[in-house]
């Protein structure tokens, strides 16, 4: 293991993490919901009466972020996404993420942030598992093939 000091951004990432924590905190305390992106999206695919509006409002908020970030965040803090994967990999990855997050009842937000924050052993197992397989996936692609 070698640390990538050039790309390491501890303070900025900590600051972003604090915003994620504040958003998750506000969502449970004010709206009474777990902030889990995969669950929020999945509820829009099989909509139930009276259970749609809050999901749409939340997703619109996320969608507004790249536009608002240009106004509120210092320009040095906004990095244009670099997407290395080819289209075939993107399609495969999307399918795995979509199916897997539903099967496992959550993703990085629901299990990783909210679940670990509320000390859920179930979410700890999920988070350790998806991180382990994320490490493994990158190892296979970058170092084994």
């Amino acid at each position: 293991m070698t640390i990538d000091w050039i790309h390491f951004t501890p303070w900025q990432s900590l600051g972003g993490g604090i915003l994620l924590g504040l958003a998750s905190s506000a969502f449970i305390l004010f709206n009474g919901r777990i902030l889990g992106i995969s669950g929020i999206l999945a509820g829009l695919l099989s909509p139930r009466s009276g259970d749609v509006g809050w999901r749409i409002a939340f997703v619109l908020g996320i969608a507004a972020a790249p536009f608002v970030s240009a106004l509120v965040l210092p320009v040095d803090f906004i990095v244009a996404p670099r997407i290395e994967a080819a289209y075939a990999s993107i399609a495969m990855a999307g399918s795995l993420v979509g199916f897997g997050t539903r099967y496992g009842s959550g993703c990085t937000s629901g299990h990783g942030v909210c679940g670990l924050s509320r000390l859920s052993p179930r979410s700890l197992v999920a988070t350790l598992t998806f991180m382990a397989f994320g490490f493994l996936g990158v190892y296979v692609i970058r170092h084994a093939i």
Binding site: D4, G61, A85, S95, G98, L116, T129, Y139
Partner: protein, 142 residues
Amino acid sequence: MQHRISEFLVGLLFGLGLILSGMTDPSKVLGFLDIFGLWDPSLAFVMGGAIAVGFFAFAWAKKRTVNFLGGVLHLPTNSQIDKPLVVGAVLFGAGWGLAGFCPGPALVSLASGQIKAAVFVVFMLAGMQLFEMLGRGATQAQ
């Protein structure tokens, strides 16, 4: 309406957090997942910052029966560590490592006009729909 505004603002705050943290850059995410290569530990700080704040909020939420706006407080009740949880996390982790996108950052990048993010989101929704069609069965939505 008050509720819709608060949900919108929470989504916005979450999206800004993803952008500031570096999570919306798949290359940075892959740099974090590349522990056997040139490793960028930044995303551990994202997780640490989020949990340091969330821990107090959820401790508070557990003591309450209603939320601050007077509505139901939906805390998960399923505590079973079962096969769907682990298999689902395996598939999700593999997909995450393959492209560097998880659901939230993919939505942000879609909104900022990234074509590959749009393709990712279409296939992600298809994967979710496939799960719905195969029957959610024993698993519970979170």
